[in-house]
């Protein structure tokens, strides 16, 4: 009897597998083509940045340059102060990332584990601000910063980015997922609420905080809209602004110089992609699954 049931169940499965057995190579080939299409513009950018200006418009595009040269990269350093832009970008991005990890970690813990008045309405307020587009508030934010004389400073870019609704939400979920009895045990041992947070829960939250940090790094390293509005003098430009101005100065002439600049600005983003791929992916995926 049991043998009979065992035999019947695999049979339809193998049929359905057989029906698709033609597909796998075609499916994988299709995926490979899509992946190539996705990476194509990036590969083209890197290879063109290594070509001589004379070869930059060559069609068909040569993936491996016949006369590879780093000349364009020197051109970027001649045209714009790459070091200054990189320093600005690094400073802004790193401070925002650390700031968001702190604020989101603290607020997320409070919402997950502490009891206080107006908890629900405050959390609703935080969630609601996720829906507010930056562009709707930018004029008053600009005025607030102006009244604090923070326009055209890096600080004006950094401070407003500290609170993160999404990060707070993420950290709350993260703390909610931790066992409650850990904290209760610490309390019984005489630890106050601060000690409980500091020695028990905060260390456990490191992976969650990494997600918040990597997401913040990725977003703010690439940020364009706020710097475009807030930073008016070139010495406060971040890399994306510098790049677009580089392109503006040169028109379509020295395409390989512009692309070399793009490659330079990509390096940290790619580094974060390689190192922080997992946290980044988890951050994005949890946007869909946890809600």
């Amino acid at each position: 009897m049991s043998q009979a049931t065992l035999k019947t169940s695999p049979a339809p499965l193998s049929i359905s597998r057989a029906r698709h057995s033609l597909a796998p190579w075609a499916r994988i080939a299709g995926l490979a083509a899509c992946a190539l299409l996705t990476l194509g513009p990036v590969i083209w950018t890197v290879s063109t940045s290594l070509r001589t200006p004379a070869e930059s418009f060559d069609l068909p595009p040569k993936i491996i340059p016949t006369h590879p040269t780093a000349e364009s990269y020197r051109g970027v350093f001649d045209q714009i102060d790459v070091w200054l832009l990189a320093l600005n970008s690094t400073l802004v991005t790193a401070l925002i990332a650390v700031g968001q990890m702190v604020t989101a970690g603290l607020a997320g813990y409070a919402f997950a584990r502490l009891d206080f008045r107006f908890k629900k309405s405050l959390f609703a307020l935080v969630l609601a601000t996720m829906m507010v587009p930056l562009q709707v508030t930018i004029v008053p934010v600009f005025l607030v910063l102006k009244s604090l004389s923070l326009t055209d400073t890096l600080l004006g870019l950094i401070i407003p980015a500290f609170p993160t609704a999404f990060g707070t939400f993420l950290m709350r979920q993260y703390f909610l997922g931790m066992p409650k009895d850990l904290g209760e045990a610490a309390m019984l041992d005489g630890a106050g609420p601060w000690r409980t947070f500091r020695s028990v829960y905060a260390p456990l939250a490191t992976p969650g905080l990494a997600i918040v940090g990597v997401l913040a790094f990725n977003y703010h390293w690439n940020e364009f809209f706020r710097p475009l509005i807030l930073e008016t003098s070139g010495q406060n430009y971040t890399l994306p602004l510098g790049l677009v101005s580089l392109q503006g100065n040169l028109g379509t002439g020295s395409i390989s110089v512009v692309l070399a600049g793009v490659v330079l600005s990509m390096i940290p983003a790619v580094a974060v992609f390689l190192v922080g791929q997992r946290p980044l992916r988890e951050g994005i995926t949890s946007a869909g699954v946890n809600r």
Binding site: L125, P133, L259
Partner: protein
């Protein structure tokens, strides 16, 4: 509700708890409340100063004429009336809606097909190669990638037209014709953004229990039918999130049209956010810019509410 039920079932427990806890928690509660205040202060103060007050500020500002130099003067609904008669603003709303519909549809379709394909049987390493590849554009800056795309979409020496030429399609004036500029902006945006929905879908598909698919196969469902009647309904909560986030993002598109076409040719790719930027920070018409901002906010709220309303009929929670 649940609180009132517990004492009815177990009367002894809540009676005992307050007695043992009464002396301590009063001290502990004060500590907890202080800690909560300290922990929340940075986030709440930040949100109030940089989001709540500015929203109110935008609404107030939209009722005034103000160019920063002169002092503000009361405008009443004049800014809104101006917005509704300004052809550039109206066109920008139409462009943004067209962009939103096409970009989100394309993005979700590509992401869904690729997620389904990646989630089928293949070697682990290959799967992670594909996943990383589709996700990679997301880590790049929209502004600098738009600079790159400007060259790729060039009519005469761009790679896109060269590839089209190989299959016998005449060169398309991508960025210089009113008919095709929006298509180029959408393609560039979707190229960079589909990885986001892709990751959501991969996560959602992984959350579907294997047994359900096996059961469906036992019932004779295969291929497309299985996807339509089994996978899609189970994925519908993820689809909803992907659509809502996709729509909210798309309504705020700025970098791509700003860098690729600067809103042109004519006004054909000018989006709402570009209009906010231009009227506030180029023309110093803060009142009108705020009015446009408020209308964008209302539009986003309305579209999002509509999606949740519609979703009640299509979204199935397990």
């Amino acid at each position: 509700m649940t609180n009132t039920q517990i004492p009815a079932v177990r009367p002894s427990r809540p009676a005992a708890a307050p007695v043992t806890g009464a002396a301590q928690p009063s001290v502990r509660d004060r500590g907890t409340r202080l800690l909560a205040t300290l922990f929340l202060a940075p986030t709440i103060v930040g949100i109030v100063v940089f989001t709540v007050v500015p929203i109110v500020g935008s609404v107030v500002l939209s009722l005034f004429h103000w160019n920063v130099i002169d002092s503000p003067s009361w405008a009443g609904t004049a800014n809104y009336r101006e917005v509704f008669t300004d052809s550039t603003v109206l066109v920008s709303f139409r462009n943004t809606l067209v962009f939103m519909v096409l970009a989100v549809a394309l993005q979700l379709l590509i992401a869904l097909v690729l997620a389904l394909a990646v989630n089928r049987r293949m070697p682990m390493w290959l799967r992670s190669v594909f996943r990383s590849a589709f996700f990679f554009p997301l880590v790049l800056s929209a502004a600098s990638i738009s600079v790159v795309m400007k060259y790729l979409f060039n009519q005469d020496f761009g790679v896109v037209n060269w590839v089209l030429g190989q299959v016998g399609i005449a060169p398309v004036p991508w960025l210089t014709s009113e008919n095709s500029a929006m298509a180029a902006v959408i393609l560039v945006y979707v190229w960079q953004q589909f990885g986001f929905s892709f990751l959501l879908f991969v996560g959602g598909l992984n959350n579907i229990p294997k047994e359900i698919h096996e059961a469906a196969s036992l019932d004779g469902a295969t291929g497309l039918r299985k996807h339509l009647h089994v996978t899609l309904p189970l994925l519908s909560p993820t689809l909803l999130v992907a659509t809502v986030v996709g729509v909210i993002n798309a309504l705020q598109v700025f970098e791509q049209p700003y860098v690729l076409t600067n809103g042109g040719p004519g006004d054909s790719t000018r989006t709402v956010v570009m209009v906010i930027y231009e009227s506030a920070f180029e023309q110093l018409r803060f009142g009108e810019a705020s009015a446009v901002g408020v209308l964008l906010f209302v539009l986003i709220m309305a579209v999002t509410a509509l999606q949740f309303r519609l979703s009640r009929r299509f979204v199935h929670y397990q």
